[in-house]
Symmetry: C2
Subunit: 135 residues, 2 copies
DNA sequence: GATAGTAGTCACCTTTTGGTAACCTGAAAG
DNA sequence: CTTTCAGGTTACCAAAAGGTGACTACTATC
């Protein structure tokens, strides 16, 4: 039996609030991490400090623009720290702050669940094909 | 001390794969649930079978179009079951399938984490204001 | 004959997100 | 004098996501 979650303990109206409303925690977390590159960047930095170019090479398919954009946003949120060394050629280091390591927790949990339950996605893919075939 | 996660146990190259690559579990999970309405719809149905109109009233701000769209997609994925009663006025019931209840797990986990760590978002908000003020 | 109720669809529009390619800095190496 | 390096920025574009309002069908009730 699965243990009762915090959210399930709430009454219906309160549960709706924390999940449905823009300003409540669940939506905020999703607004934060639910996009193409943020979880990947967090994951990358969770394994240690990186330079810009290192990340750009490690993350396949990311454009320089998106990498900058995501890094700047995370910096403004206080999730990563950016250290610029004024040398030539320039050097910049990025690392997770303490807050960043905190935010990384649910990302890692999500990844773990996905890896452990990979068969779920196989099933979904089969269902999807079956549905589109019978349309 | 936080226990070591499945993902962290992998070597760097394998870890990169499961997170960075389109076809690997973590990205698939995000592609599935990381959008404006899917987690909310799952959460709503997790509390029991609903009619279309019930959901439309319970979820503030959702348009009929988006509700239909999300429901149809989840149905095609085999995450929810749609039962139409050909009566007048029409009646349609939606409920999570077993696969759906499985997929709801990480959503609930995410919500739980967010509720338990609400102060993280307060901190982020403060950082963000401070950053935009000093620009 | 008008109105209400449920469960939608359709055409159209706006916003958000993401991608491409060119350009910049400044010193050093060929 | 041109190229190289790191670490970006900028202008421009395309696609996806999401929202709006009108409209449908069918029956029952006012």
């Amino acid at each position: 039996m699965v243990e009762k979650s915090e959210v399930d303990k709430l009454n219906k109206a309160d549960a709706d609030k924390v999940v449905f409303h823009e300003r409540y925690p669940s939506r905020r977390l999703l607004d934060l991490i639910a996009n193409r590159w943020t979880p990947i960047v967090l994951f990358c930095l969770a394994s240690g400090t990186h330079h810009y170019g290192q990340m750009h090479r490690r993350i396949p398919g990311i454009s320089k623009k998106m990498l900058s954009q995501v890094l700047r946003k995370l910096e403004a949120d206080g999730i990563i720290h950016r250290e610029v060394y004024r040398v030539v050629p320039p050097k910049t280091e990025y690392e997770l702050t303490e807050l960043g390591r905190k935010v990384y927790e649910p990302v890692r949990t999500l990844c773990d669940w996905a890896v452990e339950n990979a068969e779920v996605f196989e099933q979904i893919e089969r269902n999807r094909s079956a549905a589109s075939a019978s349309r």
